[in-house]
Symmetry: C2
Subunit: 174 residues, 2 copies
DNA sequence: TTGAATCCAGACAAAAAAGTATTGTTTCTC
DNA sequence: GAGAAACAATACTTTTTTGTCTGGATTCAA
């Protein structure tokens, strides 16, 4: 349940590009520039950028004045899409169960699992969070980030309430 | 941002012990028994249990009728304490920044970081979640888990609002 | 047209996490 | 007391993640 290096560094690079985009003179950054800004090696940064490019999030141009630029508006780039582009896809509930099946064919706990509901809620919140947040949101500063966060958290509570209601109805029918 | 094997399997083993505790005849389980129940190797389970024991969460007894039993009431064992015992401690905000410093001495973004507030909120929610949830909660079933979840989520919203308010006041003073 | 700066791609190396194997110690039962 | 069943501890192997290195290919400018 920790942030991976991929997620952290990749997101930082994306944010740099989002910032650069707001610069009227020069809205692209080269790998060496990003590396310098972030204190990372050029090779490492290049690796991230390649992934982002393949996913269509970033445009690249070669040559002496080349570099990378964000392909879309920062407000149109969710953090989830960045993470996905980087290859560090989060496991869905099903993938999760099958990947932690231990030695058995499928998870021993498929019915009556007491842990899954817990992970599911937590995981759902994280997904919601990363899907709703965009590069633009991050650029706006802490105060704005907090406001957006509150909105997401509030909606999350509503969703949980909805689930509780649904569960209750299901119970009554049975 | 994925659950580690340590967290998943370790928690499962702890839940098994919490279940066993409710059994009046036999409130302990041996490593082979847990391994069988969870579809894991005995050696692997033993490794988890050793950690849980060292952290004082679990009592162990050797010999032919030996095994492990939960040292406290399931309602007194938070998921956070289980995870911590297993060694997979979550990074605090400070640890986080220093561990992803790249090649520099400290993180390049220490002031005016646009990403930290985001991770901080998300991380705070996860921490809150794992601290509040206990083994007892997991045993109660999905419906109860959801109710507790809603409570935590609601409190989370309040905390965010509090932060927003504090931030606003801070801004005004400056 | 030559060279420098850049992206592109995959192989490679190092470190961490996941999982196994081995050897020993304790406890119970017969 | 001997043997079986269990925990204890650590070393070892495998896999995944993290990060580097190397050898291109493309573009621009002098």
């Amino acid at each position: 349940m920790n942030v991976s290096a991929l997620e952290e560094y990749g997101l930082r690079c994306a944010v740099r590009l989002a910032q650069a985009r707001q610069n009227p003179d020069k809205n692209s950054l080269s790998a060496p520039e990003i590396a310098e800004l972030e204190g990372l090696s050029v090779e490492y940064v290049s690796k991230f950028m390649l992934h982002l490019k393949r996913a269509g999030l970033v445009n690249a141009s070669r040559g002496v004045n080349g570099g990378f630029s964000l392909a879309r508006e920062p407000s149109e780039v969710s953090l989830a899409s960045v993470f996905e582009a980087l290859g560090g896809k989060r496991k869905s509930s099903e993938e999760f169960c099958s990947s932690y099946a231990g030695r058995s064919e499928s998870c021993v706990r498929l019915d009556g699992c007491s842990i899954r509901p817990f992970w599911k809620i937590l995981s759902g919140y994280i997904d919601e969070f990363t899907r709703e947040m965009t590069l633009q949101d991050l650029l706006k500063g802490e105060q704005e980030t907090l406001l957006k966060t509150e909105e997401i958290a509030r909606r999350n509570v509503d969703q949980i309430r909805e689930q509780i209601r649904a569960e209750r109805l299901g119970k009554q029918v049975t």
